[in-house]
């Protein structure tokens, strides 16, 4: 890997020539941003491979998934990878969000890019949900019905929005083709577009958040070549781990939804929506299923705008003092969401 430092390749050129060494450390970044980009790349590749076999019609969708999982050579690997990479992306994106808030890196001029990041997290969740529904088997039936009914619960706009999303009065062929189009095209395009914008803004906003030069204890920097080497190392390790996980743990699969299929006895949302499922047990679907989740997002989006930001000389390290309020708010929010998730998983909590 001898590269000529004077003539960086296209890929090297995507990186800044040098970045400050303390902030390039894994224990500062957790590698979450870079890993997210790599995971999206893996998702696009495995997703394209899946498209060669997937048939987006209610009669054939689940059977085409079975074909992929059992009959296509390495189809199981591609499908399991797509599934596990998608789960990991949600985890890594949340870790990235936590890192940014706990280090106060969202402070101006990076406030807007923080919002772009939040949008990317939401897009990932929507992609996960639409991808989950594409299985069109008994395992996703509850989430499909409950999820789309949430849309219906919105006052005034609900009915119209529901028709827009589902394409009829109940989930059917139109709903599946819409979810498919959103998954492979609409949402993916948005994710790639906003993602590119997010990366552009990282560079435009001055790269990774660092204190002003006079406040730095360690002024050393690493080159883009070193940075790319670290990224490659992380990507190779992540791929190896994912292949092992995808080989051992198959992605969920269930019998197709057929005429008269009963709703599964154990109705469970995908794990990242378990907290919403738990909230839904407590009352009005609009308040608990739509309003409160939207308020959580608004609260997250408001962090850089409504709460005290860290001072510039506090940047580039974990838990700066000037950022206490934001950190505390996020910790409380994370604990609440975790508790709701645990509650949803506990056998004591039954759906009314």
């Amino acid at each position: 890997m001898k590269a000529n430092p004077t003539r960086p390749s296209f890929f090297h050129h995507l990186h800044p020539p040098t970045i400050p060494a303390p902030q390039a450390r894994f224990r500062y970044t957790l590698g979450a941003g870079g890993l997210s980009v790599y995971l999206v790349l893996l998702l696009v590749i495995t997703g394209i491979l899946e498209m060669f076999f997937y048939v987006p019609s209610p009669g054939e969708a689940a059977e085409s998934v079975q074909t992929l999982a059992f009959l296509v050579p390495y189809g199981w690997l591609v499908r399991n990878l797509h599934y596990w990479v998608a789960q990991l992306l949600v985890v890594v994106a949340i870790i990235h969000l936590l890192r940014v808030v706990f280090t106060g890196a969202y402070a101006p001029p990076r406030r807007f890019n923080y919002l772009l990041g939040l949008a990317l997290l939401l897009l990932s969740l929507l992609l996960d949900f639409t991808g989950y529904v594409l299985r069109w088997d008994e395992g996703v039936q509850w989430a499909l019905v409950a999820g789309t009914n949430l849309v219906k619960s919105i006052p005034i706009l609900g009915e119209g929005l529901y028709r827009l999303v589902v394409g009829g009065t109940q989930p059917g062929p139109a709903a599946l083709i819409r979810f498919y189009a959103w998954h492979i095209f609409g949402l993916t395009l948005a994710l790639v577009g906003v993602g590119a914008w997010h990366l552009f803004r990282v560079r435009r906003d001055g790269g990774i958040a660092v204190p002003p030069p006079e406040a730095r204890r360690d002024a050393s920097r690493i080159s883009r070549f070193e940075l790319v080497r670290r990224e490659a190392l992380a990507a190779i390790l992540a791929t190896a781990v994912l292949i092992v996980v995808a080989s051992i743990l198959p992605a969920p699969i269930a019998p197709p939804i057929r005429e008269g299929s009963p709703l599964a006895a154990e109705a469970r949302a995908p794990w990242f929506f378990l907290w919403v499922q738990q909230l839904l047990k407590w009352g009005d679907p609009f308040i608990f299923g739509v309003l409160i989740p939207v308020m959580v997002i608004v609260l997250l989006a408001g962090i850089p705008y409504w709460l005290p930001n860290p001072r510039p000389d506090e940047l580039g390290r974990w838990f700066p003092a000037g950022n206490r309020a934001a950190s505390l708010l996020l910790v409380i929010l994370v604990i609440i969401l975790l508790l709701l998730t645990i509650l949803a998983l506990s056998p004591l909590s039954t759906f009314p």
Partner: protein, 413 residues
């Protein structure tokens, strides 16, 4: 340092890829089957290649597996593949039989097109157990006569063809009964209808639904699946329910027979029974007809209303020959039945015995000298016999029931 790390990581990646390749090499090679009736490929044979074909009438290239059994035809994971099977291992269970044996109008339809097998079996006394229920409820004062009102499941019949046919039966619900004896009957005596799980023991080993009779499981271990359907039903299969013991109506208990028969003569009936030679040398199905065993399409109150074969059906009486019919065309039911179980090479122009209800005894044929031959449906054995007319039989003309024949002809054992 960096280079070594990258090298080690790449090594790890290569190992993980090798692991995935190893797993792929261990995947079973899919064995596909494209049944002509469904036109949809299925992969059940990947694991089930060693199963014998269920019957010559259901060739696997034509029917495949999924048409009868359901299940996920593409899944090579046993749990998923089997998760949607109809009736578990037995798709002929009455709860699912319409979707399996009845689908595609195979064994479900009208009496006119001879496809009402399911309708007849489900409404038969063997299916509803209406006779036993009516008799017990009458005995203990829960109903005023012996006409059946309840079955183990509700049934309905819009098209009555016999004088004793009933329009419908409700569900026998023990919790609605006031008599302790009727409740005890429900607890201890509902083991022998076609939907009931058999009592434990190899002598009771049978499946449920159509397979209770058509899958030979008698004296086997039910944990070993039997993949066979047949119309050559040996008496041992009937004996998984019949001739197994007696019900004590005071204790409301079943007392299994205690003898240990070593030969067919002693095995066929219980020690108390009176019977003639042809009864134990033949199998039950050699004389008892489809209507008797599977029902005639009407709901009946008891066995007496449906069992009508007598000695005279085959042998006639002193002044009457048995009823016969000459097979006129290829579509004759007798020919079709003989085709299913080719113990006899029946042809158009042959004359077979028929019952008073017009059912052909298709395993018989009239010989040139006026005698008859009969082939055992389960054994293939050939028997010949003559009509009573013109013999030295001393029977009175007004005593022509089988029990009257037994007076002279019963077997001593």
């Amino acid at each position: 340092m960096q280079t070594i790390r990258l090298f080690l990581a790449s090594l790890l990646l290569c190992l993980s890829l090798l692991g995935a390749a190893w797993l792929q090499s261990r995947q079973p090679r899919p064995v596909s089957l494209l049944p002509t009736l469904t036109g949809q490929v299925e992969y059940c044979l990947t694991c089930h290649a060693d199963l014998p074909e269920i019957s010559p009438s259901h060739p696997v290239e034509t029917f495949g597996c999924v048409l009868c059994h359901g299940g996920e035809r593409l899944a090579l994971d046993a749990d998923l593949a089997h998760s949607t099977m109809r009736g578990g291992r037995n798709p002929s269970e009455f709860a699912v039989v319409e979707a399996s044996c009845g689908s595609g109008d195979c064994h479900s339809g009208t009496a006119q097109d001879q496809r009402d097998h399911i309708q007849r079996a489900v409404t038969s006394v063997q299916g509803t157990y209406a006779g036993a229920i009516a008799s017990i409820r009458f005995t203990y004062g829960a109903q005023s006569d012996q006409t059946a009102r309840l079955g183990v499941y509700p049934v309905q019949d819009d098209h009555l063809t016999t004088a004793t046919g009933l329009a419908s039966l409700g569900t026998f619900d023990p919790s609605q009964e006031s008599s302790p004896s009727v409740k005890a009957f429900a607890d201890y005596c509902l083991d022998c209808h076609l939907s009931a799980e058999p009592l434990p023991g190899a002598q009771y080993a049978r499946l449920t639904g159509c397979a209770a009779c058509h899958t030979p499981t008698a004296n086997t271990d039910l944990d070993q699946p039997v993949h066979r359907l047949t119309t050559a039903i040996p008496y041992t299969q009937c004996n998984t329910c019949h001739n197994r013991g007696n019900y004590d109506l005071r204790q409301m208990q079943f007392h299994p027979r205690t003898d240990q028969p070593v030969d067919r003569l002693h095995d066929y009936y219980q020690p108390i029974a009176q019977f003639v030679r042809c009864e134990w040398t033949l199998d039950c199905v050699d004389c008892h007809t489809r209507f008797e065993a599977m029902g005639d399409g009407d709901i009946h109150s008891n066995k007496k209303e449906i069992q009508y074969i007598q000695c005279r059906t085959c042998h006639g009486t002193l002044d009457e020959l048995p009823l016969t019919r000459t097979i006129a065309g290829q579509d004759d039911l007798a020919l079709r039945m003989a085709f299913l179980n080719p113990v006899i090479d029946l042809k158009v122009g042959d004359t077979v015995l028929v019952t008073e209800q017009g059912e052909p005894l298709w395993n018989t044929r009239q010989l040139a000298d006026g005698a008859f031959e009969l082939f055992g449906k389960a054994t293939g054995q050939r028997f010949t016999f003559r009509p009573v007319m013109g013999t030295a039989c001393e029977q009175k003309l007004d005593q022509q029931e089988s029990r009257d024949c037994h007076e002279c002809h019963s077997v001593k054992r």
